[in-house]
Symmetry: C2
Subunit: 192 residues, 2 copies
DNA sequence: CCGGCCATGTGACCACTGTCAACATGCGTG
DNA sequence: CACGCATGTTGACAGTGGTCACATGGCCGG
């Protein structure tokens, strides 16, 4: 049945499913992310993925974990060790652009009533949380680290979601970047 | 077939569907919000709702719209016309608590790849946006209104989502309120 | 007062999904 | 070399969104 030179056993179906899921998400959107579609794309029977993922949520969690890693990567690429307001704004822009570049993935990461206990997920979010805290420590040495980290992550995360939902102007990457930068600077300048 | 004293024609199935959808969301969670479940609860055939809502998304949009109205109500109840940082923090707390009190509804409002063009939705979000802008005008008369409004909404919205996703401590309402207040004050105090 | 129109509700139907259980295969190990 | 067990397959079931032709009966014109 399989198309070509294929053994009965796939080899690494677990990874293939993950790959297929990411591709589907990118190409067809979140609604196309079904276990059966994943199986089709991987060229296996519709129930084969169950050998590797207990249920749909398990697959989705694995996809989300990949997303967290890629997000962390994008942020790190924006600035190696942000220490000024401008650096912070640059990271914020990277965060929002990631969300707009991979909207379906971003939604899977945050918008699903997530399985908080998935170890992959908690590890990944802990990594992001730690990254934010390190930035805050450098940018705002006098602030309460806990509260300020929360606020910064929330601000950036909120910007991403509002853009994603079309609540803010997202007509071009340039205007998005400018808007994010302006928002970050506005809130940091406002003590009055 | 209908259970009791019922006419063939329901009377106001449109409203009944909406009501049923809200109840389902509250009682069973987002995954239980199906058109068929709505129809069952309203006591009509599974295809009846299609007379009033073109498809599932249309129903969901209507649900989201009532969510927006209720959110606006909760915010207004928190403080009639906020004008200090503390007032603002109180509104932020109300926003986050709304999200935690009605998590499924909140997700429907923001996490679905929304149908941006639904007139009900754009009107509702415009209302919230205007409300935020009015607050910002009073609290931060010197700030850029556009950028500052965006930032404030994003901050509060992000706080809500991070709590909802279990990324922040949400063990009790008191600690949530304290955390939100601390975050808002931290970011507004940080100019350095 | 009555007959018919048409919005509204019905039931059968399709394609699709998640999930399960019984079965087939063949790789790794003894 | 043969056998076990992880891996993949087949087939089935219930539930879902969505469409269609058809039934019903409230309301309006005559």
């Amino acid at each position: 049945m399989p198309t070509s030179s294929s053994t009965y056993h796939h080899g690494d179906l677990r990874a293939a499913c993950l790959q297929a899921a990411l591709e589907l998400l990118e190409e067809e959107g979140a609604s196309a992310l079904s276990l059966r579609a994943v199986a089709r794309r991987a060229g296996v029977a519709h129930s084969a993925p169950y050998r590797h993922y207990a249920d749909r949520d398990a697959l989705v969690s694995a996809v989300a974990a990949v997303g967290y890693r890629e997000l962390a990567h994008s942020l790190a690429a924006a600035h190696p060790s942000p220490s000024t307001h401008d650096d912070l704004a640059a990271v914020a822009v990277a965060y929002v652009r990631f969300a707009l570049r991979r909207p379906a993935l971003f939604r899977v990461m945050f918008a699903e009533p997530c399985d908080r206990d998935s170890p992959e997920r908690v590890a990944a979010t802990a990594a992001i949380s730690g990254y934010v805290r390190a930035i805050v420590g450098r940018c705002f040495p006098d602030a309460n680290p806990e509260a300020m980290s929360t606020a910064v992550w929330a601000l950036v995360h909120g910007l991403a979601f509002l853009h994603l939902d079309g609540k803010l102007d997202d007509s071009s990457p340039a205007v998005v970047s400018a808007g994010v930068r302006a928002a970050v600077h506005a809130v940091l300048a406002a003590s009055g």
